[in-house]
Amino acid sequence: MPTCQNIAPTTLSMAPYTGPWTKDLASHLLRRTLYGPTQVQINDTVALGVDFAVENLLQIIPSTDPLTWHPDEAVGAQGATWVTEFYPTDEALVDPTEDARKHSLFSWIAGRINTEQNASPSITEKICFFWHNHFSAKRSGDGRNTFMYHRLLDTHALGNFRTLIEDITVDPCMMYFLDTASNTKWSPNENYARELLELYTIGKGPLIGPGDYSNYTEEDIAAGAMILTGWKVRENKSAVANPYSEFDPSHHEDSDKQLSHHFNNAIVASNDELEYKDFIDLIFQKDETAFHISKKLYRFFVSTEITPEIESSVIDQMAQTMLANNYEIRPVLAELLKSEHFYDLVNIGAHMKSPLEFIFSMMNPTLTYPTNGLDGDNLLWKQLYAKASSINQNWYTPPSVAGWPCFYQEPAFMQHWLNAATINSRFWYVTQLTTHSTGISSDTFGTLYSIKIDALSFLATLQTPSDGSAMIDEICLLFLPRLLEQTKRDALLNTLTDGLPEFEWTLQYNEYLANPADVNYSDPVKSQMEAVLSQLFKSPEFQSC
């Protein structure tokens, strides 16, 4: 088994890609920016050409607010949003309401990803997950905090990185997560200051001296903690207004703070509620900050395989673009996603699918989404969220402050998504969505809702469903990042025809078309197609994107 390091990309060029704009390459672009592109989205992207396609993708589609659907919500009205509602005044209603809002947040995120299939292709959901992985704040007790944190990520997702860092620093959810909310001059808490430097902005380098991480020192962490003293969260539990953060000068250390030689021995003078911005400014004056976030964007959107050459060319260019644009994110991603390097063969299919990518790359391209009204849709989305959670992508509760190991833990990186337990679950979800009689279901509140792929409807959306061979090629192109080996492609065809000559499928399909309401004709077509999809989704190649 050869190692993964021996094939280098042919091009490190960040010049715009000008070669043939094919379905394969358009699909590659969409697989990295969506959870599971549909045929319509792929065709539109091909038609637009690479330049317009990327510009189009780099538009944030603002999400609608999470809705109240869980019956335990005591304040908000069913079907309306609870995010601007106040906290229950009756103590007994607090826990049920928080629980209801938590479930609403769960279904909200899965619903956003699932309905991506109905919209113009946009990077929104992927880039929001990128930032959630970057900051990794855990869910707050008050659902409104959690919502505001995610709305903040939406708002700045393609905007200014410095502004995002400034806002996230005093975001209530983050302030609870890394203890800024309890950081006072009498006993400073280092938690946020450490991660601000180590993970969020400049990044840690090798330890080159006692407490010296190349780009900053332990003293900078201590100074950072002092700079951030005095910020409090006003919980606002009984008011209509949301919780908010507030500066309390009496808890703020107002002496000057000395930074290390990595920041040119700068002194951050006392500046009350603006002081943290002065500190952030100093961090953003260091080019390392642009380099660090560029490298993370590269891993997330291109490949985890970063050679010294990639670092000194591609990632360096990304950082230069970011600096030239005053830390705006959009121009960096535009350049990257249009570049020759992005479309290098080595980068195609180089990612392993996250659990959400895995689930929605089955559902979205097959146009599978719930249509059961407020309760049913949200219950099923909550189920899908829980499925992804149970195989280690627990949105709202990342495993650690560094996010998911798949994006940082060398050398296995994205292979961390898969192990004996998660591959088993993934295969079970495939079964549920394809050949299982019920599908993925939820029977909470007494009504059974379920969802699975409708193989017949999906077939109808394909170009030549009656031509078995052509149809198999078509779905391989839709679902897999690379051409499938001939023997495996033939095995799929064999499953479709059940070992019979190919014309038998054509015959069967045409008979079904002539008698669409007769289950004697539709059932065999349906079950053959389900078996094909099951086999395809359980192939190792489908785990990549």
Binding site: M1, P2, T3, C4, N6, I7, L178, D179, N183, W186, S187, P188, N189, E190, N191, R194, E198, K204, P206, L207, G209, Y213, E218, I221, S303, T304, E305, L345, V346, G349, A350, M352, N392, P399, V401, A402, P405, Y408, E410, P411, A412, M414, Q415, H416, L418, N419, A420, A421, I423, N424, F427, R482, E485, A491, K538, S539, P540, E541, Q543, S544
Partner: protein, 521 residues
Amino acid sequence: MDRRKFIKNLSLASATVPFMVDNIMAQALPNNLFNVPVSYEDRVLVMIRMSGGNDGLNMVIPIDQYDNLMIQRPNIIIPENKIIQGTYDLGFHPALNGISEMFNDGKASVMQNVGYQEQNRSHFRSMDIWSTGSTEIYEKRGWLGRYFEQNHPEYPDNYPNNINPDPFAVSMGNSISTTCQGTIANFSTLVSKPSNTYNLEESLTTNDGTLNGCNSSFVTTLIEQTNAYGLRINAAYDAGNSLSQYYYIDNNPQNDFKSKISEQLKYVAQMISGGMQTKLYILDVNGFDTHNEQVDLSDTSTGVHAELLQEISDAVYAFQNDLELLGLDKRVMGMTFSEFGRQIASNGSAGTDHGDAAPLFLFGKCISSSIIGNNPVILDEITNQKGVDMQIDFRDVYASILKDWFRISEDQITTIFENHSINYLTLMDGCYSNGLHDEEPTLIWPNPAGEITNLDFYTPGGDTRVNLVDMRGRIVRNYMDMAVDEGRHKLELNLNGVSKGIYRISIVTMNGNKSVSLAIQ
């Protein structure tokens, strides 16, 4: 791996028990298939990772430093009257009633101030350092991954096979430990529930050397190994047993609370008793990053940190009890570890920030019940960000386990920790593996001693070493290092020139080690 070949090669396949590969309904294998003689080959190490950075100063408490700890961490310090006394100057967190009892029974030891020079206070970098056993940033392989790789360079191709039918290592829970990461593959397989059976569709892929090809090949191997190892894990679990009543699990009527680590250790005991030849089990307990409210302010002996310690201590206690009831206690040892300790002074959020060194526990029948290393010295004035200084390098603990427990040659161990000069510690004790000589007393007089003392001891024969070992585990003097006859031997030990203090006389034999304490006045 070619599974057909595997089944054919596997000696088990010739047994009367059918392996029904297609539906993976392997029946329970008869116990005697696994009744192999107890030897070093069968030894097992259980590692419990306390993720987040454990507050060592509230776990093993230096009682002689209590007044200064009161200055440093008044809001979180454990009330003195609640500390469980371990020795005259060292105590345990009250939640550690299980482990402290094991300590008193000679089944647990404390390694003080374990860490490395120039502590990195990043969770991620520091956990990498602990997992790789290397402070060099280019090292991506785990320390046990390097060990396994020395002997199995072809892995994962053609594994499992008839010589190595079981996983080398098992990660319990939901993610694989980087400790066993090799160059190409991770040597551990994941077990969440050993009763699970697997029948995953297998298919071939070719690897063109790109990341995509590599990932497909990784999935192909994972599926094959999940099926094949799953059979073995499942069979061992079915054949095995678990006897302790102390686990905190669902169906235990004695305990109403369910603990994940308890359940996982129970699975481990049952898999070992069922004949799994896996050498290493790794468990992970999260939640030690206690920046905030690590104690309940109304009673600092309770709270988040106390609950975590209680859960681990109770689970380890039940596990040890289980191993004893199963007669497996001489085959298994365990250790805890965390990426770093926490700062000496607490913060204002009733928590502690990232620090440096911390104590860890070793446990098992064969562990010398001792405290290796000194109590940390706590000053009477707060130094900003001060952590506990490192005294024992964590790689010395790993290396000593490889040497004393797995009997790996020093040459091989040196290759594993190539940028570190190893200082071997004496960790094992009192565990004659033939089981016949536990009743043979080791006599030492006078004790406390002055310049000379006498030793009367038993050896099963062969190479025998007698060492004077200090509380940091260092060999201060050697009195015997030669092949001798089986039976009792007498030695006069010259202590002239040795500083006053508490030491151990350690007797190291081919079949196990034994030690007794000696005070020099």
